[in-house]
Subunit: 275 residues, 2 copies
């Protein structure tokens, strides 16, 4: 039976999950759209509470739908119009899944964590999650005041980061307990600061670190300031006031990668091309 | 005389500049809003074709309006409602200016240039300009296909970058002529690539370089591929498919800064904090 009405209760439920953070939190589910993201979710073993697909789905997308069905997920065929009504985007690529939130447990030993404080723009938070996942960070901790990490735009901009690293909304006390455990060595906590502190390339980021980056509008809040033991700044020869929060996070995260990989820090001086 | 009607021809003109790239290009002007950006434009010596202000403006904003008036710019007092009608934002902070596009001449000797290819998202392009300005790049060259660099969202996200570095929309032939001048040494042109080429930290970025970064949806186009002499990639230990274009640009731009500043490449191993 194909769902042909946008007023079908299941479709209305999906739409409420798209627009209401409270409903997502109460039911412990969120929505992912498109072939790439649903495929990543399937591969990472996440549980779907509902999968919608239309006849427009590609064969790759159809394989994702089958994969979820094989694990016992309820699957519904819907018209393209109904799918678009349930979707947060213009082109959901024929497939959409309602997934159970599954907070990945934090690794026992933490050595590379990002705390993103007060990031209110969904695209910005999604980009930060994507960058952190690419850098191989173990977790992104989100103190109160950030945008909902499961909002549709965050999930989309995250490009699968949600399935690859722990994304955890926590109180400041919980964050403190995680970064300074009683029974294990604490991580070194660095607060990114627009103007003060050590240049980031001079800090030793090979040791276990937590990087605290402030949101775009307000900078790091006072709780973040209290948490950070040391301040880092990114020298800006061009003299702008500050960097976008996602950009600052990216530069710091990939400096950790650079230092830990032990890339050749002083490349040989190449001959300038004259072609 | 205060302008009290949103249908006033000047207000309609400003609104057309906000929404129509063609009108901006034909008239050679664009709009900046808010105290910070208009102040930067004034300080950088840009010419205003029109300045609008309301009684809501702060004293700092009023000084900006006076500054432009002192240079002979037409200034109009408008109601808050009219200002909001002329504005692209919810809170224009009481001041808005129509500026003459003033392409800063490229420096005679180029050694640090970014080519941003096919960036279609305004916020993303603005962030790239902001980051390039912060890194001290001399110019951002924009081949055909990018979003208009003078669109309101780009200007806003640029946070003043337009007044600090050369932002130039060019054909690929013009870009080639600039990066490979006949009478001077060429710059080394590096194409950022998601998977191929030398790890970016191993390239010598102290020599004069142009970094070519591809847009978020399509990657670098074929013209860009032909231009790039060598490929760079950013190793991603977390194994994501790619990075956001603005993030990739930021990591590369600040690697140039790091290498040229000669920051201590191997920080001493610090003692892990146990507080």
């Amino acid at each position: 039976m194909m769902i042909t009405s946008t007023q079908n209760p299941k479709i209305r439920w999906v739409r409420s999950l798209q627009v209401r953070g409270r409903v997502r939190r109460e039911e412990g589910v969120f929505v992912v759209e498109g072939v790439r993201l649903t495929e990543e979710a399937l591969r990472a073993g996440w549980t779907a509470r509902l999968v919608l697909h239309s006849s427009e789905v590609s064969s790759r997308g159809a394989a994702v739908v089958e994969g979820f069905a094989g694990r016992g997920a309820p699957v519904e065929l819907v018209t393209e119009l109904v799918l678009r009504a349930a979707s947060d985007t213009q082109s959901p690529q024929g497939v959409l899944a309602v997934l159970e939130m599954q907070t990945r447990p934090l690794p026992d030993v933490l050595d590379f964590v990002l705390v993103a404080d007060g990031v209110r723009d969904p695209g910005n938070l999604g980009t930060i999650l994507r960058t952190a996942a690419a850098a191989g960070a173990q977790a992104v901790l989100l103190p109160p005041g950030a945008v909902d990490a499961y909002a549709p735009k965050v999930v989309r901009a995250g490009m699968g980061a949600h399935f690859r690293l722990a994304v955890v909304q926590m109180t400041w006390d919980e964050i403190k307990a995680v970064l300074r455990p009683i029974d294990r060595p604490a991580l070194r906590i660095y607060l990114a600061d627009a103007g003060e502190g050590q240049p980031y390339t001079q800090a030793d980021l090979r040791q276990p670190v937590a990087l605290v980056v402030g949101g775009e509008a307000v900078g790091a809040g006072s709780e973040a300031s209290r948490l950070g033991e040391a301040r880092l700044h990114i020298p800006m020869p061009g003299g702008m006031e500050s960097l976008n929060a996602g950009v600052a996070a990216a530069i710091l995260l990939f400096e950790v990668v650079r230092q830990r990989a032990g890339y050749n820090p002083d490349p040989p001086m190449a001959v300038t091309s004259s072609s």
